[in-house]
Amino acid sequence: MAISEPTDAPDDGATDADGGTATADSADVASETATGEHYLVEYLRGHVAHAFVVAFFGLYPFAHTFLTGSLVGAEMAMFLPRVQTMITVFYFGLFAMSFDFISGYTGYLSFGHSAFYGLGAYFVILVANGKVPLLGSGTPFMVLLLLAGILAVVLALLMGSVAFRLTGVYFAMITLGFAQILYVFFSNWDYLGSNPRDGIAVLGRQDGFSIGVPYVDSLNMSIGQLQGDTFTWGMDFAAMTGIDALAPISHTIVLGPGEVSYYMVGLVVLVCYFMLQRIVHSPFGRAMIAIRENEERARAVGYDTFRVKMGAFAISGFFGAVAGGLFTGYRTSVAPENSFYFLTAGDALLASIIGGFGTVAGPLFGRLFHEGLHEFLTKEGGGLLPYLRSQLGEGTLNTVIVDGFTVAEAIEVFLNGRAGLYIGLLFVLFVLYVPNGLLGTLRGYLGGTVAGQVAAAVKRRVRGWKL
């Protein structure tokens, strides 16, 4: 959709908003179109931040292996999320980003956003099970992601054509209504599988789903918990030739299915991130922000606000479905509860608020925080509980606190799996005291000379959400 920018667009101090001033931490146009002399500084800082974040995620699996094997391995295993968990962070983070793209940038709370996620998730499995007409069960995964996205665009345009006649709570409720209709439908439609309420899983497809260039085998890597590819880099001359003397020059890096999935899913999410980021910083993104701040004014200065909203919703639906597709591509099963159900969108909301509402990457970090805390407080993956059990010793664990209630039981009741409680408390504290989220707040500090502008922009954003 081509949007011509009105000549008197409201808040552009410079003309370079779409010129690649990409900063991981600054999504608000106003924050980076400061004055001419800061442009280069901003540009460099932006790319330093990007490079740093990409390097961090790129090295994470190695760092994780290294650190958990070190002297403080037990402590590290407790704090660092496992690589599998990070994959969840990637695809759900992308979903949260797509949610925030519409909700945080235009101010229209898409409470039924799980519709897109569910659509993508179900679409991938249904095709793999040969349940979608015209599409063979062997259709390449990348094609499926694209088709799921396009399907979501169609759904978004249908929903949006009705929903964007409303604002505020009403908009949130009608999108919720649509998503719940799909939820009920997909929970009960027996065409999907024998027990639709419990969800469906990939049945026929043997080779798993691969990410890469479609139809070019050598440029694809399979993802999945079980079926994922492994990857070996380097040459083990010693093993190849049988000559032990070659061992010193034999270096290989072997990536297991988990790591391969991590990199491949991460790659897709990274590409999506750059696309979203690009859109946000384009004239179209500026139009979205103009709508959030004051829709009437945006209309008055010449934006076709309905088309902008529809376009934004379609884009956000597209990426929501891609995220859903990645989810089932990796997990190979889905249930209505973890896809179409409205609380899935609630989790995206959580991630967005903690990470930074109205920032591009914030929701991903919000989700990282959520998953990290969750893992920290569950038995699996070496969180706090196994650590406490191994460190505290029998004596302490069996100490009675009150009335036959032991330390071990207290841990069980107050910590094990109680991540929801602490996430909830944190969420409440964030809403009350850190309304801009992690990234939004960080942006405030990093802004330096533009700090004032950031604050003003944030205030405008907050005020722009209308009932």
């Binding site: 006649r165 009741v413 409680l421 009350l432």
Partner: protein, 335 residues
């Protein structure tokens, strides 16, 4: 597609007086429940414009608190009269505790957010619901009550007269449904009288239309907010206590999510902030629920989730055709 023959069959099925009477009666009982679970929500939204996402978990807390009173004292209150009397004690206790809790919640958590856009109140109450649900789960686990399944001990405190199916003119009438209808009507009437016959009700109605004007006329709207939030939460708790006896709902941690969406639907369909609208929408949803349930149970339609589907269809349909709801005024709170 439903063939024409079965449409005729369906019509004939509903013309059977026994079926019709049962559907209408079920509808009335369901309507009572829908009105009850939405009443507190609509009061709070009407005056304060706060869409309380913690509504569902507060209902669940009410169910457990009511159940706690019943289970604790059931042994000393036997017989129909004793149990029903105890139930009334239970709802008084639930109402008092949850009203106090709601008031405290408004003062400490919601009040700081009035200067911020409504989104933040939605976010905050959404956060509160996460905390409440986990706290409840923790307490239940502490007392070895399985949180995610129905609390059968509480259901077991139903007096015989309510558990039984009575024979009235040859029709089977469930005692529980009669009880739900009576209580639903009584509480609806109570809220109605509070709103229309008391000075405080007048302030609430005025304040929900134009809070600023009411303030300028000397009404302490802040205090009214606290009272309304408290009373709204109290009523929500009472609704929960009523659901505790009903095996279709029952006290469980999932009750919150089960209640939240239908309550939203009733409030929105009725028109945000009008109690009359909520009552009418509750009745509408109740009858549609009863009718579609009958369509499934009599094998006319093979889709078991028909009632659930229809609830959301009603929501979407209303928002498309009449966004302000059946009785809503356009731009309520839009000053």
């Amino acid at each position: 597609m439903i063939p024409l023959v079965s449409l005729v069959d369906a019509a004939l099925h509903f013309l059977d007086p026994a079926v019709l009477a049962r559907v209408l009666f079920d509808g009335l009982a369901k309507a009572s429940i829908y009105v009850m679970i939405a009443a507190g929500l609509t009061l709070i939204f009407g005056l304060m414009g706060v869409l309380n996402f913690a509504h569902g978990s507060l209902t669940a807390i009410g169910a457990y608190l009511g159940g706690l009173v019943m289970v604790t004292f059931a042994a000393s209150a036997s017989g129909n009269v004793g149990r029903i009397a105890l139930f009334f004690v239970a709802i008084v206790v639930v109402f008092a505790l949850l009203t106090a809790f709601g008031g405290a919640m408004e003062v400490s958590l919601i009040r700081p957010l009035y200067d911020r856009p409504p989104l933040y109140q939605i976010l905050l109450t959404f956060g509160i619901t996460l905390v409440l649900e986990e706290l409840l789960r923790m307490i239940l686990l502490f007392y070895d009550i399985q949180p995610s399944t129905d609390w059968l001990a509480a259901q077991g405190t139903r007096p015989e007269v309510i558990s039984k199916t009575h024979d009235v003119f040859g029709l089977g009438v469930e005692g529980l449904e009669v009880f739900q209808i009576l209580l639903g009507v009584a509480i609806t009437a109570g809220v109605w009288l509070f709103l229309t016959r008391t000075r405080y009700g007048l302030y609430i109605r005025a304040g929900s239309e134009d809070g600023e004007m009411a303030q300028a006329l000397g009404v302490n709207v802040h205090q009214a907010f606290t009272v309304v939030f408290g009373v709204g939460v109290g009523i929500t708790g009472v609704a929960g206590a009523l659901l505790m006896w009903d095996s279709a709902w029952a006290a469980s941690i999932n009750l919150g999510a089960e209640v939240l969406l239908p309550a939203f639907v009733v409030v929105i369909v009725g028109g945000l902030g009008t109690f009359r609208g909520t009552v009418v929408a509750g009745v509408l949803v109740g009858f549609v629920d009863a009718f579609t349930t009958e369509l499934f149970t009599s094998d006319i339609v093979g889709f078991s989730a028909l009632p659930e589907l229809f609830i959301f269809l009603i929501l979407v349909g209303t928002l498309v055709l009449r966004p302000q709801g059946l009785f809503g005024v356009e731009e309520v709170g839009g000053h």
